[in-house]
């Protein structure tokens, strides 16, 4: 009977932790460059966080005459106006900067509609007032911080503090890396970007926990193995699972890049990137960090503490 292709050979012995001299550099690069990008080119803040008006139209003629549209709306005195093609040649996105107050914001959309007339189809309009955009910035930041904190506590409770710190450090690495992607490609950074980041956090952590679980198990199994060797063993043992899972998830997300439409493109790209960077950081950030933080073996060789009863009992099977 067909046993399935073993994509990853069963007994890989790759010296992942031994590569740490290089991987630290790569990780540092992946963390620092995004910060530089954000500081220099910045993020393409969507109206969610900046306030403003956004109109998506579909023109009768294809491709749309962007210059003509620009000519019609630029004289309205609405401040900075961005006009760009959006996914299809006849789809145009018009973005108007935040107006001084809510009333003028409302009027801006009426003015645009008056200027463009009924010849175009108005597919989508969004107005975010200054009150809401400030709230969204606050709640987005709180969301990421609270999620990281909740994870810290859970991993600490289920494992040891070293695992928790390693997890958080590598998640921060993933988050900055993802923000860097948004900056590099100037993807619109909005509420769904926060959703993407939180989902990446969840997914990436899932991956780390699988390796942590194996490290914990091997710490009990091989009491005298040097830590470097033990970490490598754990990563290699879970490598097949990691590759298969990341490939399937990536395959599931990938079609959204091509068929999902413009509205979800940024989200899908961030997710695809998140899968890659999450897989990287599990092996090259979270695990080697254990070495620096120094996992205490005694915690696992001693009698199982009541709080960890479940995991310990299962490991003794």
């Amino acid at each position: 009977m067909f046993r399935g292709i073993h994509f990853v050979p069963p007994d890989t012995k790759i010296d992942f932790v031994g590569l740490r001299a290089i991987s630290w550099l790569v990780s540092a690069f992946l963390t620092v460059v995004p910060l530089i990008l954000v500081a220099t080119i910045g993020l393409n803040m969507g109206i969610d966080f900046q306030g403003g008006t956004l109109i998506e139209i579909k023109t009768k003629e294809s491709p749309a005459n962007l210059a003509e549209i620009r000519g019609k709306v630029s004289g309205l005195g609405l401040g900075e106006i961005q006009i760009q093609e959006f996914g299809a040649p006849d789809a145009v996105l018009i973005r108007i900067a935040s107006q001084p107050n809510e009333q003028e914001q409302q009027q801006s959309i009426a003015k645009i509609k008056q200027a463009l007339g009924d010849e175009v189809e108005y597919r989508r309009t969004e107005i975010v007032g200054p009150t809401i955009s400030n709230e969204l910035i606050a709640s987005g930041t709180i969301a990421v911080v609270v999620a990281l904190f909740g994870i810290l506590v859970y991993v600490w409770f289920r494992f040891e503090w070293q695992f928790a710190v390693a997890a958080i450090a590598s998640l921060i690495h993933d988050v900055t890396g993802t923000i860097g992607l948004y900056s590099l490609f100037q993807l619109e950074f909005n509420v769904s970007s926060i959703a993407a980041i939180l989902t990446i956090i969840g997914y990436s952590l899932n991956d780390k926990v699988v390796i942590f679980d194996r490290i914990r198990e091997n710490l009990r199994k091989y009491k005298r193995m040097p830590l470097v060797q033990l970490l490598d063993l754990s990563i290699n043992e879970t490598l097949a699972r990691a590759v298969l899972t990341h490939v399937t998830t990536f395959l599931a997300m990938l079609p959204f890049l091509f068929f999902g439409g413009e509205a979800i493109f940024g989200f899908a790209l961030a997710m695809c990137w998140g899968i890659v960077i999450g897989a990287y950081s599990s092996i090259f950030v979270a695990s080697p960090l254990q070495l620096i933080l120094g996992v205490r073996r005694e915690a696992w060789s001693a009698a199982p503490a009541p709080a960890k009863g479940r995991g310990a009992a299962a490991a003794r099977i």
Partner: protein, 538 residues
């Protein structure tokens, strides 16, 4: 791990069957479901505004204006109370930022009496959920120099805000209902906001105009002695008069007597119609008996003089009273189009909003964009699903097939739960379902890889599968719980589409844990017992 007790078997079978039954209605169109008998499941997943088109409008009550209005009323009450009690006073003033009205009592001897009388203005608030008494809406205190201060309390303001929001929701509902769209949702958000969501609406501007108007109708007499044109230039009007402009372009000024003859509160009905003589669109209205009596009296006394119909501070028409209007009915004409007359009638029927509402967030999606999004979402999800299944079959053969079958159960369960919850599916939500496909597959990958390891370590087929499941279980729980933490935060802090995404992801993760640890296990166990293989094909 591979032995199932009978009751567990039955439970799994029931859950899976129920999952398919409750997910089934989603495969049919809404119209074909109408013929389904009511005892059969017919609930579908709601489509979010981004998928079916519609308007999302977040309104905020102007709290400052509300306080201002309230203080103005209190000032009037203070004046009336002190006059009625024959207490001399001076310097009656209000302070919006401090939320106070203060007054000087002339005679120190009157102070006690004034305080007792003014304290009667305070109304106790009907407490919280526990029915407790949470104080008065006003606090009356005495200050130096014979001054009495009335302060609006925090619970008082909160209480008034709550009733204002509730009244607004009622009013908005009546106005939105005039559009005849299905299932509009109007609900309170936070302290001072109302969220209006109307699926499938096309004329958003009209909707906004209709909700945005306060709808405060007043009938006032035109001051025949004043020169409106001159008043408009000098901005000066006789005492007791106000300068009000009409809705025309350019606006026509009117000098009106400030006293309100009859207001919209006395209206019992308003309907669009046509003038019997000119044929132009008008709005006919009817007063309640008190309003009719007052209107009759005023029109009797002022035959031949003009009066003005004022809506939200603008004159919509100023007809001359030809004869006393005693029946309590009348009509408003003002060069309306049919739609304007219709909307005005809706506005008047629905009553006035307690305070002005401002749009602070608006998101509208056209129906065609929604349909496009559904199509592209469906396409992407199906291609993704197909790729995952091919890959799983390639990687694990028969065990991959088990995983694929479990995937169908998983998707059915997600749709069943979402339909039963009445949850809303958004475009990111579709992506969320696809992501859970990845997570669901991960559970199977963990198990299958573990089984491979156990086989390599020399275990018998049965023991290897058993150990594979029991060891992978801990990892599956740990890794999924941590993912759930991030997702729950998303639900807690997100709104709209983000929240929908979080709900689908949560349901998906729970469903995938269930299918991985029970459904595939059951399939594998049944196969092992049936085929009794010498080696596991993995």
């Amino acid at each position: 791990m591979l032995h199932f007790q009978r009751w567990k078997l039955i439970l799994v079978a029931v859950v899976v069957t129920a999952g398919f039954i409750y997910a089934l209605p989603n495969l049919f169109s809404k119209t074909s479901l109408e013929g389904v008998p009511s005892w059969l499941p017919h609930k579908q997943v709601n489509l979010g505004l981004d998928l079916q088109g519609g308007a999302h409008l977040l309104y905020q009550i102007d709290e400052k204006e509300m306080v201002e209005d309230w203080l103005k009323n209190i000032r009037g009450d203070v004046r009336d109370t002190l006059r009625k009690s024959r207490i001399g006073y001076s310097d009656l003033a209000q302070d919006v930022t401090k939320r106070t009205v203060s007054v000087n009592i002339r005679e120190t001897a009157d102070l006690d009496k004034a305080e007792t009388e003014l304290k009667k203005l305070a109304v106790p608030i009907g407490g919280d959920v526990f029915g407790g008494f949470s104080g008065n809406d006003l606090e009356v205190t005495r200050e130096a120099d014979n001054r009495i201060v009335l302060t609006v309390t925090d619970p008082g303001l909160a209480h008034r805000m709550t009733s204002a929001i509730q009244a607004s929701i009622e009013t908005i509902r009546r106005r939105v209902d005039a559009f005849g769209t299905t299932e509009p949702s109007i609900q309170r958000e936070g302290r001072s906001r109302v969220l209006v969501q109307v699926p499938g609406i096309t004329d958003v501007e009209r909707l906004k105009n209709l909700i945005g108007e306060t709808g405060k109708l007043e009938f006032k007499l035109v001051d025949p002695g004043a020169d409106a044109a001159q008043a408009s230039q000098t901005k000066q009007v006789p005492v007791g008069d106000v300068l009000v402009y009409s809705n025309d372009t350019p606006p026509i000024p009117y000098v009106l007597k400030d006293q309100v003859l009859v207001s919209g509160e006395n209206l019992v009905d308003a309907q669009p119609g046509f003038d019997s003589r000119t044929g132009e669109p008008v709005v006919t209205f009817r007063f309640d008996s008190a309003g009719a009596k007052r209107f009759g009296k005023v029109t009797q006394e002022n035959v031949g003089l003009p009066f003005a119909i004022v809506l939200d501070g603008k004159v919509i028409s100023a007809p001359v009273i030809r004869e006393p209007i005693l029946g309590g009915t009348g009509q408003i004409s003002g060069n309306f189009t049919v739609q304007q007359a219709n909307d005005l009638a809706v506005l008047l029927r629905s009553g006035a909003l307690p305070a002005k509402l401002t749009v602070i967030e608006e998101r509208t999606v056209g129906a065609s964009l929604g349909a496009d999004s559904i199509e592209s979402g469906k396409k992407a999800a199906l291609v993704g699903l197909l790729l995952v299944m091919i890959f799983m079959l390639a990687a694990y053969g028969l065990f991959g097939l088990f995983a694929c079958l479990a995937l169908f159960v998983n998707i059915a369960l997600i749709f069943a739960v979402l339909s039963l919850m009445g949850a809303t599916l958004t475009l990111p939500g579709i992506a969320g379902i696809v992501l859970t496909i990845g997570i669901a597959v991960d559970a199977n990958v963990l198990i299958n890889e573990r089984i491979r390891e156990e086989i390599r370590s020399g275990k018998s087929p049965y023991a290897a599968v058993d150990a594979g499941y029991s060891r992978a279980l801990i990892t599956i729980i740990d890794s999924n719980v941590t993912t759930l933490i991030a997702v729950l935060v998303l639900f807690w802090l997100g709104s709209g589409p983000v929240r929908g995404f979080a709900v689908t992801l949560t349901v998906g993760i729970l469903a995938s844990m269930f299918t991985a640890v029970t459904v595939t296990r059951l399939m594998v166990a049944t196969w092992l017992r049936w085929a009794r293989p010498q080696a596991i094909p993995i």
